[in-house]
């Protein structure tokens, strides 16, 4: 049976992993390859690298990072951040990434989803959605540009549209839950997961192992992503998986 996936997310800026990585025992806590290997050994099912470089040079460096990680790691990984065109996707996928994640670009130019899916197959194309509850529409609204720009899209409608256009997976981040460590937004996760035919990765709000269990049971998510609780060693991938196993969840 297919297992539920646990996915650590690493922010990369100009080729270095940034934002609160507290690891001892690593030669260099900012080295993407070392961190990727660390999470691999801990049992991470796949990884997400989010490129937060602001400059063109930083983006070019990301291709080198992808090559280094792919050259040394035997688990799959997704790269997101600043991918706008089919050319961008080609560079990242040819360097050894397994999937690319589109966020703002997908909303601004939805054709890019289809172009990517036609060229590489849907299984390579992840659409990332930043969702925030909006009382005026009584549902969640899609935000772009790192959560700074509200769009006209309601989240479930956009998720369905993204899948119709060829997205093979949805990476769903709750902006309301993100950073709060009070658990994933499972109403949101469930609404999207039940509305689309592709896997959904829950993101935003992980604080402990029980939260992952709830994301799968209540949120109907296929995978769950977290950053800080793993980086700060508040829990580990292994602890989360041990707990999930004890609750009867199928994990690797």
């Amino acid at each position: 049976m297919i297992t539920k996936r646990i996915i650590p997310c690493l922010d990369v800026k100009d080729g270095r992993v940034v934002k609160g990585i507290q690891f001892v025992g690593l030669r260099d806590a900012g080295d993407p390859v070392e961190l990727a290997k660390y999470y691999d050994e801990e049992g991470a099912d796949e990884l997400v690298f989010l490129d937060i470089s602001a400059s063109h040079e930083g983006r070019k460096t990301m291709v080198d990072v992808v090559e280094q990680v792919a050259g040394q790691l035997a688990i799959p990984f997704t790269v997101g951040g600043g991918i706008n065109t089919l050319e961008d996707m080609k560079k990242i996928l040819r360097a050894g990434a397994d999937k690319v994640s589109l966020n703002t670009a997908a909303v601004v130019n939805p054709d890019v989803i289809t172009e990517g899916a036609n060229f590489f197959g849907s299984q390579c194309i992840v659409v990332a959605i930043d969702a925030k509850f909006d009382e005026t529409i009584g549902s969640w609204r899609v935000y772009t540009h790192g959560g700074r720009t509200a769009t006209d899209w309601e989240v479930v409608a956009w998720a369905k549209e993204a899948v119709r256009r060829g997205a093979g997976e949805i990476l769903l981040t709750s902006m309301d839950s993100d950073g709060e460590k009070n658990g994933f937004n499972n109403a949101l996760n469930k609404a999207v997961s039940e509305a689309v035919s592709v896997p959904v990765i829950a993101s935003g709000g992980a604080g402990n192992a029980e939260h992952f269990f709830a994301a799968f049971e209540e949120g109907k998510a296929d995978a769950a992503l977290a950053a800080s609780i793993f980086h700060y060693k508040e829990t580990s991938v292994k602890q989360v998986k041990d707990y999930l196993k004890s609750q009867g969840v199928n994990v690797r």
Partner: protein
Amino acid sequence: MIAIIDYGMGNLYSVSKALERMNVEYTISNDIDVLNEASGYILPGVGSFKDAMSILNETGLAQFVKDIAESEKPLLGICLGMQLLFEQSEENGLAKGLSLLPGNVVKIPEDAGEEKLKVPHMGWNDLTIKNESPLLENLETNFAYFVHSYYVKSEEAEVILATAPYGVDVPAVVGRGNVFGTQFHPEKSSGLGLSILQNFIKMVEGEKR
């Protein structure tokens, strides 16, 4: 030496790096003279079946791959490269494959199991070995990482070496004679994937002697 057949549609980088880590001599080429020097072959592939077949046919590599199958040299198709070994695919309209193995490539049904399944089949799934093969000897774990929307449907049970359950029994490892394929990327499937690559390399080296 192992040759990775480069027809422009593969994720060549990670598989070549995996071979490097195993200290295996390899070449990446689309030149039939260069490819002829090798004692075993990897046919990679990511993307659409139809596009891949048109390129293979236009470049003459389709015939070359068929010739490999006629020889004794081992051939391993990975992901789309495995699907190409079969007779036809319904991805983006029907297209003929290399017909080295019996079976057709069809979309994974969303409603084959008790509950509705997500397609693509994405993530780690466990393998059940259906037929013994040197490719499947001494595997460390059962889990491989799948990421695909189409699967091989074959009536001939003996070519299905291992399956993974996803509503239907998804052929995960296939093979007959010197022609093999894995639906998953072995270079992305941790210990199990690397063991399969090692086994393939052993076969290639055995062939050389």
